[in-house]
Structure formats: structure tokens, C-alpha cells
């Protein structure tokens, strides 16, 4: 945390904070790692105030409450060759995120308080940003017996999910939705009927037909979303639907929300940017689960973001080792390393008029904080100084070799994107990416 009375002034940026209904040029003063004061034009915080330690000139920049990614895979413990808490959180910060929620499919699985505590201790010591673990619904993510969700909740888990492994047994899912009402945390469903997806490796459709690859029909997702919605109706439990990729899924969620159920949903940048065409040439970088779908699905996802059916943009950051992608398509791992491209891809939605900038910040900061009950996603006076400063005009080319993440697996390699994180403040540190990034020192100023 920031020591003594050090003060940082972020000056002249366009402050976008939907938690307070603010979208206005102004100044932000930070003291001791908290938001000290906020002044909107024409008012100003005096730069001459004598004890200001550092001034960040944010003219022409967007100033957001730190972004919150409620769906990442940090791979530690157990798969440190893919990613670690240290590298994954550094990638998060580079992408503008100040809090990430890590899925439990580690080795061992985060299905008990000991693993939860390990992750939190490691994240406290080595994490570049805040880490909130998501515990497993069932022991070993096997979908059979409930894990000790109460003890994991007390240890710091903010939600429960068997992500990557759908809970196929409806009774187990019912019990999970019922039991977690005691803690008021959501069950996050990876909606996939694995009998129906039947070892498929990409979306079932004309492209899988042409490539001779086994398809996963959209219905594998839609059916499970519908089942889980009905179980939420039955139990009154809180359901959050991860990585929605289908038009049918969107429709089911819209109906559930209209009928007053406590259902929320997320999608990921790749589902509103790419289609299954990206798999042509047996491109394993585009192999992801759920798979990239069709242009009709993509349009439905955008519409659902626009009308509020989808509450959250998350990354499903799934880093893998190069050897796990540089191989046969059938054998290649599912997943996209998404933390460092998500914000730029999402800013495209603002450019296209799908979302306002305020709505974008809601979906990438405020809404995930609310769904998970985090004290994040706001620039209110007294809140943690988690701040993301973005240059909306900066153009950059996606070069995976320059990622902070160990996972270089992205289908966006070579894309020229607009909008880049310049400064991130989080955990009492300033990460300044405006300078050339030759050394650790340039990246990070510890206050």
C-alpha cells in the first residue's frame, strides 16, 4: 500500500464512472491507495498543492475504474508452464485489469480452502493486481459431490464454478444452486452438454463440414443454458452463465431475465469479433471452447450486449504452452490468451455504436463487481484506487511475443487495434506503460 501521505494527481482525463453516473473531464486525487477526491470540469484540483508526489497528465485519455475480469485461468498451482499468478496478473494489468477472478481448474483443483488460501497468499505476495478465486462446485470438478463451498467462501472464494467441466448431473446442479443461497454467491455455469458436443473440436456447421473436423452444435450450449435457467427458477439460486456464444443462448437468457430470474451472463471478445471462419487452415489459435460460432451468433451477441441481456465482458483468458497449440487440430488445447487484447477489442463495440463508453465500463468493471459482491468498479471517494488510464486513439499491432502472459495463443496475432492502456494504478502501485518497456523498472513504480 502507499506509504505515508503520498498523493498522486490524475489530471485532465475523461473520467468514466457509471457507478456515479460520471462521464466528464476532470481530476482525480489519490492518497494512501484510496480515492481522495474528484473534481469535474470546470473545477480543478490544484496542481500546485504542495505535497503531490506525482502528476499523471491524462489529457485526451479515458480514466476508468480499474477493469474487473471475472473469468481467467491463472494455471497456478499445477500448470506453471502455461501461466503463473505473477505472469497472469501482469498480463491483466497490461490489459487494463486491476482485479481478476481465477477459475478452479488448477492441479490440484481449487475445491478446498487450502488451495484457496494458497492462491490468495501467492497473489498477495506476487500478484500485480487483485485476485479473487472461484472455487469448484464439485470435488475434483467431477460433477458428483459438492465441494466444501462454505469453507471456501469463508477463505475468500467469490463464486463457484466447474468451468471447463459442465455439471452434467441436474440434481448436483440443483443442490449447488440451493446450497450457495446461504452465501449469496453465484454459481457460474460452463454451459455445455458434453454428450451432445461429443468430442467436437469446433462449431458444427458449414466450416467444420468443409474442414472435416468434428463439430460442436450450438444446441450443446443452448440446452444447458436452458436447463440451468430452469434450475435457477426451481431453486431461486443465483446463476451466472459463462462465455455465451450462441444466438439461442442469448434468447434463453433474455427470456429468463424478463421473467425476473436472478440470472446474469457474460461473453468474451472473441465471440463478438470472430466466427468459425477463423479455424480455416486448421488454425489451432482459433480453437476455443465454446467454439467460435457463425455471423448470426456474433450479431446476436452484440445485440445482447447492447440491450443488456449480457451483463459482462470477460476474457476467459486461457493461456497454453506453444507445444499445446503447435500440433494436430484434434489434439490442440482449447483456449485463447485474452487479457491483453480484450479492452481494445471491446472498444471496437463503442466505435461501432453497439455500446456507449459508459456501458463498456459497466460491463468490464461495475457489473462483474456487483455480481460477485466486490468493492471494486467505482471511483467513489474512499474506494480503493484501482484506476485504468487508456489512450483511445493509440494504434498497436498484436504481437503475441510481446505479451506479458506466458500464453501466446491468440487468433488476433497481427491485428491492428485501437485503444491501449497507458497507466494502471492498483494495489498501491503505479504501472506506467507510456515509456518504452525495456526493463521492469519502466513498468512499475512502487510507491
Amino acid at each position: 500500500m502507499v506509504e505515508k501521505g503520498e498523493k498522486i494527481l490524475i489530471s485532465g482525463g475523461q473520467i468514466v464512472d457509471p457507478s456515479q453516473g460520471i462521464n466528464c473531464v476532470g481530476d482525480l486525487l489519490i492518497e494512501k491507495g484510496k480515492i481522495k477526491s474528484l473534481a469535474l470540469e470546470p473545477e480543478k484540483i490544484e496542481k500546485t498543492e504542495e505535497d503531490i508526489t506525482k502528476v499523471i497528465n491524462a489529457k485526451g485519455m479515458l480514466v476508468f475504474p480499474g477493469l474487473v475480469d471475472m473469468h481467467v485461468h491463472l494455471r497456478e498451482p499445477g500448470y506453471e508452464y502455461k501461466e503463473t499468478i505473477k505472469t497472469g496478473t501482469m498480463a491483466a494489468v497490461r490489459g487494463g485489469f486491476t482485479s481478476v477472478c481465477c477459475m478452479p481448474n488448477t492441479k490440484p483443483v481449487n475445491d478446498n480452502e487450502t488451495v484457496t488460501e494458497f492462491i490468495l497468499r501467492k497473489a498477495f505476495a506476487e500478484g500485480a493486481c487483485y485476485v479473487f478465486p472461484i472455487g469448484a462446485i464439485t470435488k475434483g470438478q467431477k460433477g458428483e459431490e459438492l465441494s466444501e463451498m462454505g469453507m471456501m467462501y469463508e477463505a475468500g472464494c467469490v463464486a463457484f464454478s466447474d468451468d471447463g467441466h459442465p455439471v452434467m448431473n441436474s440434481l448436483v446442479m440443483r443442490r449447488a444452486l440451493e446450497y450457495t443461497k446461504a452465501f449469496d454467491v453465484p454459481i457460474i455455469t460452463h454451459a455445455e452438454d458434453i454428450n451432445l458436443s461429443a468430442n467436437g473440436v469446433m462449431n458444427e456447421g458449414i466450416v467444420s463440414h468443409e474442414l472435416g473436423l468434428r463439430g460442436i452444435p450450438a444446441e450443446a450450449e443452448v440446452i444447458m443454458i436452458k436447463r440451468d435457467i430452469e434450475l435457477a427458477r426451481l431453486t431461486g439460486g443465483r446463476l451466472h452463465i459463462a462465455h455465451v456464444s450462441t444466438r439461442g443462448g442469448v434468447k434463453a437468457i433474455r427470456e429468463a431475465k424478463n421473467s425476473g430470474l436472478r440470472v446474469t451472463a457474460e461473453t468474451c471478445p472473441h465471440y463478438f469479433t470472430l466466427t468459425d471462419d477463423a479455424a480455416r487452415g486448421y488454425n489451432t489459435a482459433a480453437k476455443v471452447n465454446p467454439p467460435l460460432r457463425t455471423v448470426e451468433d456474433l450479431e446476436a451477441i452484440k445485440e445482447a450486449l447492447s440491450d443488456g441481456t449480457i451483463d459482462v465482458i470477460a476474457t476467459d483468458h486461457a493461456p497454453h504452452h506453444i507445444d499445446e497449440k503447435n500440433c494436430e487440430f484434434d489434439r490442440a488445447a482449447f483456449g485463447i490468451s485474452g487479457l491483453e487484447t480484450a479492452l481494445s477489442l471491446s472498444l471496437n463495440l463503442v466505435k461501432e455504436g453497439v455500446l456507449s463508453i459508459d456501458e463498456l465500463v459497466e460491463k468490464m468493471s461495475l457489473n462483474p463487481s456487483r455480481i460477485l459482491g466486490l468493492d471494486k468498479g467505482t471511483l467513489k471517494v474512499g474506494a480503493d484506487a484501482d484506476i485504468t488510464v487508456v489512450d483511445p486513439e493509440a494504434q498497436w499491432k498484436v504481437e503475441p511475443d510481446e505479451f506479458y502472459s506466458k500464453g501466446k495463443n491468440t487468433p488476433f496475432k497481427g491485428f491492428v487495434l485501437k485503444g491501449l492502456t497507458r497507466v494502471v494504478i492498483c494495489k498501491g502501485r503505479i504501472y506506467d506503460f507510456t515509456e518504452r518497456q525495456d526493463t521492469e523498472q519502466h513498468r512499475l513504480i512502487l510507491l
Binding site: 458449414i206 472435416g212 473436423l213 486448421y282 507445444d323 494436430e328 487440430f329 484434434d330
Partner: protein
């Protein structure tokens, strides 16, 4: 032909296909000679890289390569480093380092020949990838049809059986269509999915309907190991509804021929009475396979 690899029939024009078939005719004459060998590709090395068990395709490629005077090495999964955990790409790079000019590859995953073509310098020939394609099988089938019928254009050709999992069908459909044939697919709906309608074919679920007046019946092997995946209830029922019997073949044109890529399951997809009848050209397909594979090696060889 101007191509380095044979990965997919989709990459070939009608002219390319015709050139291969014409060239194969010349090589078929060679195979009828007393000394069945020409010096055309002497000094070149062909590696048969088979990650899936195969006897007939591998043997056919091996003979084709030997008839062209190349040096042939068979690299099959059971004897290779793959079982020791070597990656596909490392295996391929090793074979390149051994000096292969051609790599004939079969693999259970679709797209592997495309991946190898990206990674190594040799000419890659797809000898079957997953459920995707088996281009030389389609070429030898077209060669056989042309030889028997004098043409492919204008013929009606039924492909019968497990279309969904058949790389033979996925290569034959574009090959025959490019040559001007009308293609019908026949089989249970679980094995003939609607996606195939995009390929300008007719789909029939009834043999009686689909076989009527066809010129060629191309049977596919029913992979018995798929039966427990529930694509059809029992082999018994399959044969009853989709087996090729003497009664059913009578619905085709009087001069219709019967083909099968082998190995056959007698009593599952085809009755012995049909397999052994005068309509059957199944063994001629095997012979023609050598000539067609010689033509492919020869035509790619100029570009390696």
C-alpha cells in the same frame, strides 16, 4: 500441374484431375508389362508416414513409388518414436532431415497433411486425414469409372453408407462433381447430415429410392466400432435397410458397376453375391490405385 502438394481434392481444378487421370493411363500400361518399372524418379526418396494402421493404401503407395524407381521408407506408428511421446512436428522434421522428397501421410486427425506442408519442404501427399479427405482414393475411383464407363460427365453415382465419417466420400464428392457427375448420397440420416446438401448432391435415406437408375454404386465401409456410438441400432438392422443386395442392385441401370474402397464387411454393407458379381470392379480399383499414385508422384515430382 504446378502444385507441390496433394492435400485436398478441393485444391484441384477439373483440368488438374483430368491430367492426373490421363497420366495414370500411361502408367497403367507400364503395370501390364513384364518389367513393371520405369526410371522416372530414380534418386528420389518417398517416406510413407502412417500414423494409422493401413495395409492397402500403404502397400499401394509403396508399389507406386518402387515402380518409379524411388527409394521408399515405411515409417509407421508402431515402430516410430511417436509411441515414445515425440510430437508430430518433430517426427516430420526428422523425416525431412533424412532427406525425403515426398512424404505420404495418413493420420487420424483432420488437417495433419496441411500442418506438415507448412512445416517441412518435402511434397506432402495426403493418404487420408481424419474424417476429412483421401484424395488419391477419389482419383483412383474416378479413373476406374472413366475406364469402365468411358466418361464421368453425365453419370449418376450413388455413394452409400457412413458418409459422415468417410474421408473417401469427402474427396469423392468434389472430385466427381468437378468432373460433371451427379452425386447421390444414401444412408441413415445420422450418417448423412444435412451439411452435405451444400455440396450440390442429392440425399436419399432409402436405398430403393436412391439406387434407381444409377450408373455407379460406390459402397463405403461401415466402421463397426462406431456402432456403439448409436448412429444406428444394430448391424442387423443396418444391413436390412442399407445393405447392398442383389435385389437392390437390380434397381440400378443394367450396366451399373459396384465399387468399394475396401476393406469390405460382407453381410454388413454389402452382400457377397453382389461383391463377387460381374458388376463388381473392386479388385480393379486396387490395381488402378497403383497407376494413379504413380501419376500423382510423377506430376508432383517435377515441382519438389
Amino acid at each position: 500441374m504446378g502444385k507441390r502438394h496433394l492435400l485436398s481434392i478441393k485444391d484441384l481444378s477439373r483440368e488438374d484431375i483430368t491430367l492426373i487421370l490421363d497420366t495414370a493411363e500411361g502408367f497403367k500400361d507400364v503395370l501390364k508389362r513384364d518389367i513393371k518399372k520405369v526410371p522416372t524418379l530414380r534418386g528420389k526418396t518417398v517416406v510413407n508416414l502412417f500414423f494409422e494402421p493401413s495395409t492397402r493404401t500403404r502397400t499401394s503407395f509403396e508399389l507406386a513409388a518402387k515402380r518409379l524407381s524411388t527409394d521408399v521408407i515405411n515409417f509407421s506408428v508402431s515402430t516410430s518414436a511417436v509411441v515414445k511421446g515425440e510430437s508430430l512436428i518433430d517426427t516430420a522434421l526428422t523425416i525431412q532431415a533424412l532427406g525425403a522428397d515426398f512424404v505420404v501421410v495418413r493420420h487420424s486427425s483432420s488437417g495433419v497433411p496441411h500442418l506438415l506442408a507448412d512445416k517441412i519442404n518435402a511434397s506432402i501427399i495426403n493418404a487420408g486425414d481424419g474424417i476429412n479427405e483421401h484424395p488419391t482414393q477419389a482419383l483412383l475411383d474416378a479413373f476406374t469409372i472413366r475406364e469402365k464407363k468411358g466418361r464421368v460427365e453425365g453419370l449418376t453415382i450413388a455413394i452409400v453408407g457412413d458418409i459422415l465419417h468417410s474421408r473417401v466420400a469427402r474427396s469423392n464428392i468434389p472430385c466427381l462433381t468437378k468432373l460433371g457427375a451427379r452425386v447421390r448420397l444414401i444412408g441413415p440420416p445420422t450418417l448423412v447430415p444435412d451439411e452435405f446438401r451444400a455440396d450440390q448432391v442429392e440425399i436419399h435415406y432409402s436405398m430403393e429410392e436412391g439406387l434407381r437408375d444409377v450408373d455407379v454404386v460406390m459402397m463405403l465401409r461401415i466402421q463397426l466400432e462406431r456402432q456403439d456410438r448409436g448412429f444406428f441400432p444394430t448391424v442387423n438392422e443396418y444391413f436390412r435397410l442399407w445393405g447392398l443386395t442383389s435385389e437392390r442392385i437390380a434397381l440400378a441401370r443394367d450396366d451399373a458397376i459396384v465399387m468399394h474402397p475396401g476393406p469390405m464387411n460382407r453381410g454388413v454393407e454389402i452382400d457377397s453375391a453382389v461383391a463377387d458379381s460381374s458388376r463388381s470392379v473392386i479388385l480393379e480399383q486396387v490395381t488402378n490405385g497403383i497407376a494413379v499414385r504413380m501419376a500423382v508422384l510423377y506430376l508432383l515430382g517435377g515441382k519438389a
